[in-house]
């Protein structure tokens, strides 16, 4: 009979549920963990709690109607999601958008990116135990939402884009409001670093945690800040530019460390880049029409169309197979969160449960985007 300590006190693997109603999963995501003590052996996401089958619904909808479904996927990148479908329809019909539309779309997209990153930053801090960040993030995000509300009547699911341009023109005070926000925000963003980024506890919770190599990042199809945190140049705005990104110069933020802190820093830097992009454009909004007349019933030509845009989470792809009718024969939304989540197991196995919370936070998951 053996009598060593490790035999008498041997550990056993067991299953534990995290979610579907867990504060750190930001929505209804259930993770089935296999753990040995506190060490994670396996993570298996259980999806579908809010699956609405948007792809099936879209098969009976017109293209104008589909636009309104897309901002219910990744609701924090509502504007970019709308833009993806609109660009697809416009490209398929070979419609050229006025410069004014392109520039306004880009400004709104970058404001959305800042708003999304602010919410992420707030809950990221909260997930690792820093409650104040949530208040700071929401304080500044409110100002962007106010601009959205005044421009298009909605604060979250904006529906500002339509195939053929924009739903309304911007108001005369739009430029001034955006500039006021940027002036305010540029004084606040450095505070974020002193409050959270440089905090010793935060650094210890994130540095070297949740490592994802560049090779795996590509193989898992990750994109956005998750891919770029692993040193992989995947910015759709750079590689497949659309709207006003074709003529503006901006830096793609890339970190090579591949850990949680790297993904965090990518998003903080991206907010600075978004500020630069908006400042570049806000005084140069060309005069002209804010929409182009389209037919009441839009029929796409027969064929296959693919459009990708860079949302706050990464690469959103819309793939349409058209048979020449007013509905798509098949529409597929390749959502960034879905692919980013698939890399979670690789990042966290061998880590601790506390690390899992930090890692899911930097994946910046929006569950309706994954479930669709």
């Amino acid at each position: 009979m053996t009598n060593t300590i490790s035999d008498r006190f041997k550990t056993e693997e067991y299953f534990i549920n995290m979610g579907p109603q867990h504060p750190a999963t930001h929505g209804v995501l259930r993770l089935i963990l296999t753990i040995d003590g506190e060490i994670i052996k396996n993570v298996e996401p259980d999806l579908g709690y809010i699956h609405r089958s948007i792809e099936k619904m879209s098969e009976r909808d017109s293209y104008q109607q589909i636009v309104h479904l897309t901002d219910r996927m990744d609701y924090l990148s509502a504007h970019m999601n709308n833009e993806a479908v609109c660009l697809l329809v416009e490209n398929a019909l070979e419609m050229e958008m006025p410069e004014r539309v392109k520039v306004i779309r880009t400004i709104m997209a970058e404001l959305t990116r800042i708003a999304s990153h602010l919410l992420w930053w707030g809950v990221m801090g909260m997930d690792v135990g820093a409650l104040t960040t949530f208040m700071y993030g929401f304080r500044d995000r409110e100002l962007i939402n106010d601009i959205f509300e005044e421009t298009c009547g909605a604060r979250l699911t904006m529906n500002y884009n339509i195939p053929g341009g924009l739903m309304f023109d911007i108001l005369p005070n739009f430029q001034q409001r955006v500039k006021d926000f940027l002036t305010h925000f540029k004084t606040k963003l450095p505070e974020y670093d002193t409050l959270l980024t440089n905090n010793v506890i935060f650094q210890k919770r994130t540095k070297g945690v949740g490592y994802l190599s560049m090779e795996d990042a590509i193989s898992f199809g990750t994109s956005g800040p998750v891919g770029r945190g692993s040193g992989y140049s995947c910015d759709v705005r750079k590689h497949h530019p659309y709207s006003a990104y074709t003529n503006i110069d901006f830096k793609e933020v890339i970190r090579t460390e591949g850990d949680t802190l790297a993904r965090y820093e990518v998003r903080i830097q991206e907010m600075w880049e978004s500020i630069a992009i908006i400042e570049n454009l806000i005084d140069n909004i060309p005069e002209g029409d804010f929409k182009v007349a389209t037919k009441a019933v839009i029929k796409l030509p027969k064929g296959e169309f693919y459009q990708k845009v860079e949302t706050a989470r990464g690469e959103l792809g819309v793939f349409v197979v058209s048979t020449g009718t007013k509905n798509p024969y098949r529409i597929k939304f390749r959502s960034p969160g879905f692919s980013n989540l698939s890399a979670l197991n690789k990042m966290i196995v061998g880590g601790k449960i506390g690390d899992l919370v930090a890692v899911t936070s930097t994946l910046d998951l929006v569950i309706p985007d994954i479930d669709r």
């Binding site: 792809e55 793939f319 098949r330 692919s339 698939s342 690789k346």
Partner: protein, 153 residues
């Protein structure tokens, strides 16, 4: 690499590839399902092609056949390719898994299995991803009928 150069290289593979004439911004090729895994392996490992990024994997019901469409991109050469494969067996459709080539296929193939019922051979963990385990039928198929949950216009 331009689409024409890509087409020349792919033709040399001699896998019975058919190039599509349909409207699409990408070069599109149809492969018989027996040659799928071999072709995908070559697309990933050939240094001149190195398609290392599978950015979209779509299941589709063509009415008679069930199929899968793969969108590939090379992160080094920045060229793209679309590969299509299909099977006429609607009762027991089986295709090769590409999970061993691109890890992202793991989740995407589960999604296709969930909605189209296509089984992927050699997939490590094929199960329903979104729908409950006891769900009957495959909702994104064109012949799927659900009188309770579907609103028919």
């Amino acid at each position: 690499m331009s689409d024409q150069e890509l087409q020349d290289i792919l033709t040399e593979f001699d896998l019975g590839l058919v190039f599509s004439e349909e409207t699409s911004q990408y070069l599109t090729v149809r492969v018989p399902k027996e040659g799928l895994h071999l072709l995908m392996n070559k697309l990933k490992s050939d240094i001149n092609l190195s398609f290392d990024y599978l950015f979209c994997l779509t299941g589709i019901d063509w009415g008679e056949e069930l199929g899968v469409i793969y969108h590939l991109e090379s992160t080094t050469h920045r060229h793209s390719l679309v590969v299509k494969v299909q099977t006429a067996d609607r009762e027991n459709p089986i295709l090769d898994s590409v999970e061993d080539i691109w890890l992202t296929a793991n989740f995407h193939e589960m999604e296709v299995f969930d909605f189209f019922g296509i089984k992927f051979k050699n997939h490590p963990n094929l199960k329903r991803l979104f729908l409950p385990k006891d769900w009957t039928g495959y909702p994104l198929r064109k012949d799927y009928v659900d009188t309770i949950n579907m609103v028919v216009k």
